[in-house]
Each structure stands twice: as C-alpha cells, then as structure tokens.
Symmetry: C2
Subunit: 325 residues, 2 copies
C-alpha cells in the first residue's frame, strides 16, 4: 500500500461529509425537527465539516409524502428554510437513488438551488442509468458523486468495468460503499487502491461510506484515508440504518487538519443526539448486525430482530445462514 500522509500530518484534500440527516433518516423516516436540522447545520459550520447531506431527492410519485419527513424529498424550499442562501463554506449535498428519483422534474438548475452536490446511489447493474443521471446533474451545474452500493456482493471485475465506464463520465467522486458493513480493513485497502488507480486515470476523487456492523466503520474509514481516499462520510453518534456509520465525532478527533474542531460535534451529540436515543430511536452496533455483516447480507433481518427485542442470537444466526445456503 502506498500511504498518503502520516498520523501526524494533515491532508488538505480531505473533505468530511456529514450524512446524519440522510442515513439517520432511515432510522426515523426522515422526521427530524427543523430545530435539530438547523442546529446540526450550525454545528457543521463550526466544526469545519465540508459537506452536509440533507437527505434524499425521492420521487413523490413513488413515495407518499404523508409517510415521510421532509428530508426524504429535500425540496428546495425545505433546505432554504434551514440555510437561507447558505452564505457559508459548508456545501450542501443530497442523495438521488437511481430508479427512485424523478430527477428531470425535481432537480432544478444549480443557479436556482442551494444544493452543491448530487450524490447518485446505484447498484452495479444500473450503471448506464446512473451515468444518465450524472450527465443530467452535471449539465444542470452540480458537482456529482457516484455511490455504488453493496459492492461486497459484486464481482471485482464488474466493479472495475463500472469504474472505467464512470471514469469517462462527468462524475467528480467515486464512492466506496460498504452497505452491509461486511468489509475488513484489509479489504478496504485493496478496494481503495483499485478505486484510486482508476480515479487518478480519469481525474476523479474517491470517497468512502462505511457501516458499523462489525465495529469497523471508523477503522475502515481511517484506513481508506491512509490509502488516499479523501471524501469521508460520517454521522453524529454514528446514526444510520442498523448498526449505523462512522461516528463524526471520532473522525473529527482523528483528523489532524487544523480546520476541524471536535468540540461543536461533542456539544451536538450531548444536547441533540442523546435526546433522540431517549426518544427511543435505535441504531448502533449490536450482535444481529455483527452476524449479517459477517455473512455479507443486507441488515434488514437484523433490524427486524432488534425491533422485536429478540435476543435469541443462535436461532437468528441459523436462520440467516440458511438464507445463504
């Protein structure tokens, strides 16, 4: 591995991306209070965070607006309610799923929007549709990233081919996404090297979005960083679907870039995130997530198990093992 930087140096190319509302929204159907989102926005500015992801640009044809909070849809007016014209250095991100976004209607010209980057989420088998979205958003004036999900179940050759295709598009950032939290640091290094090799060939950047099923989200994120990955996703108190994500407070503490400041993040955790926990929202490492991560499966069975307060781990392991075999 060719290491980029040391544990004492800092890397000006690093961008920290707060994905609390977007990935955390999968825990509470995007029902965050405006006060919460506004405090998070202010906190990210103080903490030196580079991007704040507000949620999804989900299609209102496919999803009922009465069943979700505003951040499932991220209307321009919703974001502006929080940020005004966003006269700050913090950039604003939204995620757009291939096949679940009515992008030709819902993504307006960049000159009329406070959004800076559209993060396009795709599975490996919908890359051509993703490229179409990339080119659409790029033409509208946005920065874009491509987040290929569930790569732990994809063939390495297929991922390479996908990245070669994407390299020829106008996308700005390739994202490594460990959707199932199944990857170990050693795999992250191999994958990072592959992504970086192809990214450098086409002048793209590389990011990472890790999950904490096996308590490796933070470790995997900093390992990818050492390999040269520069867009780093994290969430407050690791909030996110199932086992959650790399904790933003841990990442800010680790990074040596003088612009980052852990204190505002700690304050937000103690005032706002603990309150969500008290309200009964559940996320974070637990044994069923360890087991779906270990078997490289979607966490949905584990989420259901934990929602039922069912701690019969041996039966659960037998059941999910049977799904594989």
């Amino acid at each position: 591995m060719t290491q980029k930087g040391t544990l004492l140096s800092f890397r000006p190319d690093i961008k920290v991306v707060d994905a609390t509302i977007r990935d955390g929204g999968l825990v509470n159907n995007f029902y965050f209070e405006d006060d919460f989102v506004r405090e998070l926005y202010k906190t990210n500015i103080k903490a030196g965070v580079d991007y704040m992801e507000f949620g999804y640009k989900a299609s209102k044809e496919l999803f009922n607006v009465n069943e979700f909070g505003d951040w499932k849809f991220c209307d321009e007016s919703s974001i502006r309610r929080i940020v005004g014209d966003n006269d700050t250095d913090l950039k604003i991100a939204v995620m757009a799923d291939v096949g679940r976004t009515d992008y030709k209607n819902d993504i307006i010209d960049k000159k009329d929007s406070v959004i800076d980057i559209i993060r396009i989420a795709t599975y490996i088998n919908t890359i051509p549709a993703a490229v179409e979205m990339i080119e659409y958003c790029h033409a509208k004036g946005y920065e874009t990233s491509i987040n290929i999900m569930a790569i732990s179940t994809s063939n390495t050759g297929d991922i390479e081919q996908a990245l070669e295709l994407l390299g020829q598009s106008n996308v700005d950032v390739f994202y490594i996404v460990d959707s199932y939290g199944s990857m170990y640091p050693e795999q992250i290094r191999t994958i990072s090297e592959m992504y970086i090799r192809i990214a450098e060939k086409y002048g793209k950047k590389v990011g990472i979005h890790a999950h904490n099923n096996q308590q490796t989200a933070f470790a995997n994120t900093i390992e990818a960083t050492a390999c040269g990955v520069s867009y780093l996703d994290a969430t407050m108190l690791g909030m996110g679907r199932g086992a959650g994500n790399c904790a933003l407070e841990a990442l800010l503490g680790f990074l040596k870039n003088p612009k980052y400041n852990i204190i505002p993040a700690l304050k937000f955790v103690q005032t706002k995130m603990l309150e969500l926990k008290k309200q009964g929202l559940v996320w974070g490492y637990d044994i069923p997530y360890l087991l779906t991560g270990l078997l490289n499966q979607h966490p949905r069975t584990a989420i259901a198990k934990i929602a039922e307060n069912d701690t019969d781990y041996t039966s659960f392991y037998r059941d999910i093992w049977d799904r594989e075999n």
Copy 2:
C-alpha cells in the same frame, strides 16, 4: 507489511484467549458466580477457544480478600472447583502483575496446578522484575507471556530494548497491549512488525490485547493477525474495563480455522452476558472512552464520568485536555 495468510485461509498457529473473567472482573470486582464461570468454561471448550484466563494471582497481603471475588486471587482450589483436573484441550491462564503478586508463595509447581500459562503484566520500567517472575514461573514448569502495558505512552526505542532483554529470557509470548485503546490499525501494523521481528529472532510468539475506546479493538486485533500475531485476546460481548475488549463472538466469526465455532459463544452471550448487562454492569464503547483514547490517557476519568451518568462531553474533553497540557 508482509501478510501472513489471507481472508480465506486459516492459520494453525493462532490461539484464541478468552479473557472475560480477568478483564471483565475489573468491571465487577471479580464477583462472578460459579455457575457463570463454569458455563463459560464449557462454552470455551465447545467454541474451540485455546486458553481461558481465570483472573489475577493478586497478593493477599496487598488486597483484602473480602473486597473482591475469588478471581482476583485465583487460588488453585477456586479454579479446580470449576475445572476439576481440566481433562480438556482448553488451557488455563492467570495474570500476575509485577509488584502486586506474592508469586514466591502463590505460584506453586506446575505439576500440582491446573494452570498452564502465567501471563506477567508489567510496565516498561519494571522489566527486570518481570524477567525475574518469568524465570521463576518458567522454572516451576509454566508457559509464560509478558504483557507490557501502556506501550502507547512509551518510547519505541525503549520498547525495542525491553523486547531484546525479554528475548533472552525464557518467556514464550510477547504481548502487544493497547491499554488505553489509543492505537489505530496503522500503528498496530508497525508495532506488530517490530514485535514479530524481535520475537522471531529469539523464537518467541506474539499476542495482542486490544481495547475498544475508539471502536478499534476488533479491527486492531484482526490487523495484528494479518501481520502474523497469533495469540489473540478477546472477551464475551467485549466485557472489560471501560470500553472493553475485542468481542470474542466477533473474533470467532472472523477466523477461518475450522476448530472455532461461534454458536456456543452466541449462546453464552444471549443467556449469560445480557444478564450481566441487565444487572446493571456497565462496559463498552461510549464517548468519554473515545476521548481518553484519542488523548492517549488512562480511562479512569472516563469510567468515573460514566458512573456519574454525566454526559457533559465538552467539559470532560476540556478537563482531560488540561491534564495533558
């Protein structure tokens, strides 16, 4: 890094060490019920665990036997109450602290004991006393390991010199100990390479004992394994002082050696470990541990903070930062 084995292969040299009673005993002053210890013993046998650490061999001159459970002292009769003559493949370990063990009285001839290995815990400045204990225990017939604690605060040159001295002793295993949970995978690889280089020169093995302050205990343990470290400490549900240890169930799931079986460990976690949590015992990752880990400090301030249910993390961070500066 020269990697030993792959994620698909297995390593016959690996030894899994269950340290639940010993490190977990720091949470409950070693008051484990016999039934708990006996079930753990049976579980370890079924799970293919190689060593079970029963506790400390603490001096009864220094510690009041009325203030601790039996596993602080590990009398021969206490261990035999659980294991009889231990006619199994599971080896039995105890820990002996330099300066806190009355070893000339309390460590009897191996031929009269069911204990297999004495793990000698020392700080870097008491190596000569540790060597004396190693030679004493070795002469009595025991396998020994040397666990140099708090190496994250020691000078690398000093650690190398200590290992060179220890290489010339009769110790069998050098242990990497991340007492403060302050180390990252990248540091673990560098340290592992140094320990292994000196260990190989003298025909010793290397082990790792990780803490989970920054949620890197499992990741650090498997990274060390990939570098060739072979004695791997873990505890059920990660039970141990403060943020706890590498979780045994995660480690057994990860290892590919056919002898290891995660199912008995899962059963023990669901029947016995969750019960300890219900009784109010507290361990595992939390923000104050992240912060002491980040600042490379002993976790005692974090343990006190959490015991008080005090979630003012920003004040805590300021206070422990001041201790440094």
